[in-house]
Amino acid sequence: MKTSELPVRAAPLRPLTSGGPKVLAGGRISRVDELRAQPRKPGEASFFYADHHFQYDAVKVLPGEYFVSGDDVLIMTVLGSCIAACVWDGKARVGGMNHFMLPEGEDGSGRYGSYAMELLLNEMIKMGARRETMQAKIFGGGAVMAGFTTMNVGERNTKFVLDYLSTERIPVVSQDVLDIHPRKVCFFPVTGKALVKRLAHAHPEALVVEERKGNAAALAKSTAGGSVDLF
């Protein structure tokens, strides 16, 4: 057979190199590379990935971080005794999530938790959301470790976030808090849709260690919190 008789392939079926843009279900092009390239503020989540299960561009919020968006992305986190507040303004189509843990033995003013809340609300307001039309869903505050229950960290966190949102007059329309389970939370900031999965107790110690490592107090330090300039 002469080579000229071989069937001609007009175009490769898929890009031959793996460096091309990822394609999600329905032919949508993943924007993960673009999201990664954008500059981020201190404390803003920056772990972007294409979520296979949801076929969505996603970002993982680590302890102490937050993420706010007006794009149709998935915001995800995994919680032990920490709280994730998912807040959105359906009118402005802007929403976000934080992930905080009150440090123990602090002065009790709850300023680290309220700092995490304020960062989230401020960034949303900057993107056009209004406090009056915000709604919240809260997750976490679990007593994930045996013996950890006596300290009531999850309970204190839950009480704090409920009090805070009530003071801010932001209605809590749904919640999955307390109990003993670690949780995986998926939040769609534009629509306010949230999904929570209660996880098995595989390695609760590891989760607790991770939550301790990145609490909001450390974040405050990294963002020059508490600094004073007199002009």
Partner: protein, 120 residues
């Protein structure tokens, strides 16, 4: 008894700031945003203004500029208390006429120290 105008759109933050200031013996008037603060400043004299930056209607920088045009507030100390920590924002604060820039979260003792330093 020095009178302080505390401006923040977050009720939680107003509560914390008022609690801190009242505990140190200051009298506090709260305002919910820059516009509310500016209206209150028309009828009352304040010894110090402590304001957030990001607020609806009128932000902290806008409030500072407007107050500096007002004859009663030419020399009144105006402190910004905000989550904004960039040098660009601080420069804008200085240009607007702010006395100082404090980045949240605040340490109550440090806040009182700074207020004591700048208040007349």
């Amino acid at each position: 008894m020095p009178l302080i105008l505390a401006v923040d759109d977050s009720p939680s933050m107003r509560k914390m700031v008022s609690f801190t200031l009242a505990g140190a013996g200051y009298q506090v008037v709260e305002a919910v945003d820059g516009q509310d603060a500016y209206e209150k400043a028309q009828t009352q004299h304040f010894d110090l203004v402590l304001t957030d930056q990001n607020m609806p209607r009128l932000d902290g920088l806008g409030l500072t500029r407007k107050l500096r045009e007002h004859p009663n507030f030419k020399t009144t100390p105006i402190l910004m208390l905000t989550t904004e920590s960039s040098d660009l924002m601080k420069q804008a604060g200085r240009a607007a006429g702010a006395t100082g820039w404090l980045v949240k979260p605040f340490d109550p003792a440090r806040l009182l120290e700074v207020i004591k330093k700048v208040i007349k």
